[in-house]
């Protein structure tokens, strides 16, 4: 489906600031760890301290590469009757959630997300397994999506 209708579908992506946020998160873990590793290893030899620090930073670089690809993998599209959300690198997931099945929407923003002006929109259905989460939306876009989904959900609501 994603391929077949790819041409007509208006795929949107999370804000580019999400990538910045993920990078900051990776750095916030990697840099202190690298420093700690250097300090601990400095008791044995100077070269070991340098090597340890570099190794941890290299791991951080790897994490950044994964985070970048994961952020790029997120995309979503609003169709007439349902919302498509695609995500995942290793496990590729495509969710199709009909608006009529929507029970409620929540918009959450953690402290980090908030400082970047971002929010996560999540659609809930009566099935716990349904998985329609879009992270890293700019606040205005999150509000627009929430209102639109709520409106469409109400218009197409179906019972259990």
């Amino acid at each position: 489906m994603s391929e077949g209708e790819g041409g007509q579908l208006d795929w949107r992506r999370p804000s580019p600031r999400l990538l910045t946020l993920r990078r900051v998160e990776v750095a916030a873990v990697a840099v202190p760890l690298a420093v700690a590793a250097s300090v601990v290893l400095a008791f044995s030899a100077a070269w070991a301290a340098a090597a340890g620090g570099v190794a941890v930073l290299a791991l951080g670089g790897l994490a950044e590469w994964i985070a970048r690809r994961r952020v790029r993998a997120w995309r979503y599209a609003e169709r007439d009757d349902d919302l498509l959300v695609q995500r995942g690198l290793l496990f590729l997931r495509l969710s199709v959630v009909p608006y009529g099945r929507m029970q409620f929407i929540d918009v959450t923003a953690g402290p980090f997300e908030r400082s970047f002006g971002l929010a996560t929109v999540r659609m809930h259905t009566a099935a716990a397994a349904s998985d329609a989460r879009i992270p890293g939306l700019e606040r205005a876009e999150a509000a627009r999506l929430r209102d639109r989904l709520a409106e469409l959900g109400e218009a197409q609501a179906a019972g259990l």
Binding site: F91, R93, P98, A127, A129, D131
Partner: protein
């Protein structure tokens, strides 16, 4: 018991029945001690006190609990210190159960349970009501629930038609041949072997094994008690299931509330041509971080029966099940070798059926009108083999259809076809 403003009380014997259950449980717990000759009443005093306290608490809870029907809601008020007022919209009722445990039957009372839909999926419980009030109340609640959904009055209480019932001999045999049964048999055989081989050690083993024996017997008993003489009947107000030896259960599942149907065929049963048919209704689901214990077992429409009988029942519950089944490609053998021989799926305009299982065969039917969302998932191994899985999520408690390990083109095609079909099915109702 009726008070002012239409408020009702529960039956005054409820506290006795509730405490009585605890008394039996404690009696079972202290039985091994008594049998071993350690009838030390002083040591059991705390347990007796517990029953007393339960009795008092039960009485207080009875005093402060009242319920009434307010237009389309059932309202229950309870709690002494933390006052709760619970509102249950009748339009969301999925099924109504009438449960009569052994003690409750002695006192001629019964518990009424309303199973609700929704994310919280709470169950409204009225424990206990006088037996003669329960049946009219059940009918009234179902009637109100029905009216909430559509304005057409329900058909008059027509005669119910019995669809199937389970012979006791077969039920007993099937339980002994199930996983629980094998477990119990293993314990007994173990104990007997110990007794024969080392009579000296047997006494000790028996003491230690007593807990296991009691546990095993309870499990067998519970299963047997729950499914004894199960009768399925079709009535205008829904599917009626009745069963029980000591504790009687009568359940009414409203029409069109079945989210999914599952057929389980364990290894040994398959040799005998037996299967178990279960239905899933909307209710509490296990979300991330919740324990396994939260999940109640599914209600069996047919605890054990021939495939032909199950087929007949299925035709009643899911009228248009797809007949043809599509096998997965051979390369799936590399990914799931044990599942391969059972994997298949079928679809038509109304319903999807999938089969899976390693040792036991599990077949799931999901009406498209009940699908909540679709998920196409592809893991790394699947990508290498050109496979994908398509999940159909339902609001049921534990049954979901999974078109496991299909060719990518097939999965995409199914997704593309099923999404509009599900929409049409949803709107047709």
């Amino acid at each position: 018991m009726k008070g002012a403003d239409g408020w009702h009380r529960l039956s005054p014997v409820s506290p006795v029945v509730r405490a009585g259950r605890a008394a039996i449980a404690i009696a079972i717990l202290i039985l091994p001690t008594v049998l071993r000759g350690g009838a030390d009443l002083a040591r059991d005093a705390p347990q007796v006190a517990v029953v007393g306290v339960l009795l008092v608490l039960g009485f207080v809870s009875w005093l402060v609990t009242r319920w009434r029907i307010e237009e389309d809601d059932l309202r229950i008020e309870t709690g002494l210190l933390r006052r709760q007022s619970l509102r249950f919209p009748l339009a969301q009722v999925q099924a109504i159960d009438v449960v009569r445990p052994g003690l409750a039957r002695l006192f001629r009372v019964a518990e009424l349970r309303l199973r609700m839909a929704g994310a919280t999926g709470a169950t409204a419980r009225l424990a206990y009501l006088p037996e003669r009030e329960v049946e009219p109340l059940r009918a009234l609640l179902l009637d109100l629930a029905h009216r909430g959904v559509s304005d057409t009055p329900p058909e008059e209480q027509g005669e119910e038609r019995v669809l199937a019932s389970v012979p006791t001999g077969r039920l007993a045999a099937s339980i002994l041949l199930s996983d629980v049964g094998f477990f119990a048999i293993a314990i007994f055989v173990g104990l007997i072997v110990t007794a024969v081989e080392a009579p000296a050690a047997a006494a000790g083993a028996f003491g230690g094994g007593a807990v296991w024996v009691v546990g095993g017997l309870t499990m067998l008993w519970r299963r047997f008690n729950q499914e004894y003489r199960l009768t399925v009947a079709e009535a205008p107000d829904g599917l009626r299931l009745r069963s029980g030896l000591v504790a009687l259960t009568a359940e009414t599942i409203r029409p069109g509330r079945v989210q999914a149907v599952r057929m389980v065929e364990p290894f040994v049963w398959r040799r005998l041509g037996w299967c178990r048919l279960e239905v899933d209704v909307a209710g509490h689901q296990r979300r991330k971080g919740e324990g396994e214990a939260q999940r109640a077992p599914l209600r069996a429409v047919l605890p054990v029966g021939s495939r032909a009988l199950a087929g007949e029942l299925l035709a009643r519950i899911v009228p248009d099940a797809p007949a043809e089944r599509l096998r997965p490609p051979r390369r799936v053998l590399a990914k799931s070798p044990l599942r391969y021989r059972f994997l298949s799926f079928g679809r038509n305009e109304r319903c999807v059926v999938t089969t899976t299982g390693r040792i036991r065969r599990v077949t799931v039917w999901v009406p498209l009108a009940k699908v909540q969302s679709f998920r196409r998932v592809q893991g790394p191994l699947q990508r290498r083999l050109g496979l994908a899985s398509l999940h159909l999520d339902t609001a049921g408690r534990s049954v979901h259809a999974n078109l496991r390990d299909r060719r990518v083109e097939e999965a995409d095609e199914a997704l593309e076809a099923l999404v509009p079909l599900a929409r049409a099915a949803r709107r047709a109702r």
